[in-house]
Subunit: 330 residues, 2 copies
Amino acid sequence: MSAAGSGPEDLARGVLEGGARSIGRAISEVERDSVTVPAILRRVFPRTGRARIIGITGPPGAGKSTLVQRLAQAYRRAGRRVGIVAVDPSSPFTGGAILGDRIRMSEIYTDPGVFIRSMATRGALGGLARATSDAVDVLDAAGFDPILIETVGVGQDEVDIVRAADTIAVVLVPGLGDDIQAIKAGILEIADVFVVNKAEREGADRAVAELSMMLDLAGHPEWRPPIVKTSAPSGSGVPEAVAALEAHGAHLAASGEGRRRRSLRARSRLLALLETRFRRAIEARAPEPDGLEQAVAAVAERREDPYSAAARLFEELVPPPREAAERRSG
Amino acid sequence: MSAAGSGPEDLARGVLEGGARSIGRAISEVERDSVTVPAILRRVFPRTGRARIIGITGPPGAGKSTLVQRLAQAYRRAGRRVGIVAVDPSSPFTGGAILGDRIRMSEIYTDPGVFIRSMATRGALGGLARATSDAVDVLDAAGFDPILIETVGVGQDEVDIVRAADTIAVVLVPGLGDDIQAIKAGILEIADVFVVNKAEREGADRAVAELSMMLDLAGHPEWRPPIVKTSAPSGSGVPEAVAALEAHGAHLAASGEGRRRRSLRARSRLLALLETRFRRAIEARAPEPDGLEQAVAAVAERREDPYSAAARLFEELVPPPREAAERRSG
């Protein structure tokens, strides 16, 4: 009730005070890319950078939601307040199943020391990665630590989203067989920790051995991703998974890799925001003479080739550096 | 030998004369996004817009390559010269299998009336869709008609690529079962023709019935995608598939939908080229004071929030419309 005002300043204040309603509303603003988001982020951003951010990804059916619940409980027992952002970048070809998964998190759903939020695609280009980073900032500023980002699936969208994390755990299950073959190339690149979940199933040791062999071939001069077996329903292996995640956190801090990743993330985040602004500027000026609409017509009717039209439009929007410098000094 | 010169003008002339070596080299330029591409496109673009462009997509293992070969042979028998662009947008999580598929196209590989080209991802954002459109323009200007675009997989990248086509055929096989369920939403949106390939297999009629039911539910006021059963190795059903593709071509022309699609394509092509230019402009000015590098450092160190930094960088690059108008009139 202390943050009952509806402006972005009030909302940001409520977030910094850790108010659940303010946090929820701020993430809703973030999710729908409201005009208030820059003001909210401006206020909360200086209080971010304290949380450990852990990404958890892997194919559908790997038991990620249950594992996330177990990890959250383990961190709770250590006295930590845990934020969870569950993201479903459902492409046109997949249906989102993550909301159903929420039900399986019922054990932690009523714990005030855990904040759970699901986000689904809004169809915006790069929009879900942006919204995820912003939501993580809101939870970080509100004092949650660690923050777990869970994604469904193993495509490029998921990779973009999960890269908002400091440490990435890839969850697999025994018996994926060909699936592991198909996805191993990309997984080798992004995994900091491997979790073989549903380890009570037949083939768990073989999955571990196959992963281990892949890691031998790949070579990891600085950090070899540990492989942890878990059985999420019983919680077996969960302390080992937490230890592996924390060990990677220590490696990030000691090696400078953490700093490098934060810099890469700042870069991709800035580029995404710049591209969104650029697209909006094009759209805003589209109906003008020499705007996008006329160029589209010219290209569609084969009167002008796309490269010439794009070059012309671009110079209208973005003056060459010399001209821009003159404008600045004049 | 007539187009032995190495400049883009010579290359474009060779393309317009239909020289296979010039066409191959022009597509290589397109594929690696060479600086010569704008000049090549400027020359060939006025001669495009004549070919029928047909996209063929569907899950791996649906037999698309063999089907494409049969379709190409059918068009060849009708005296047409056929261009084929096979695109593999292998994400970090998939390995490209399409080059192996080429071997199965050996029957048409030596026919000078067929031009086959494989393209694989270069990791560039939106780069493969751009390269596909440019390669189609090269083949179009060289007189190939129809041009078949084949993609592997059913993700967003494939959708973006196959949207360079006038008519999209989605190839499925009996027994996909859950896969059909998982992908049906997106497929309903992009398919103009459904092909149930490997129709000799059990379950073909059920697959057709399921698709038909989906179409009943979706409702298609203007064009209901026909469902054709094929057996690519024997060629059975291929004439019916060609007839369905041609019927959709007639619908595009009669309804104005073809014009609408060409306009949408011109638009997304222009936007992609503009975004690439914008990203390059950012990179070119990144080391300058107030450039990207300083902003990245400020955000990574939490001295400035990403929205404020993006706003500042953007105004440096793209002046507000009023200022731009003053520059134009001055």
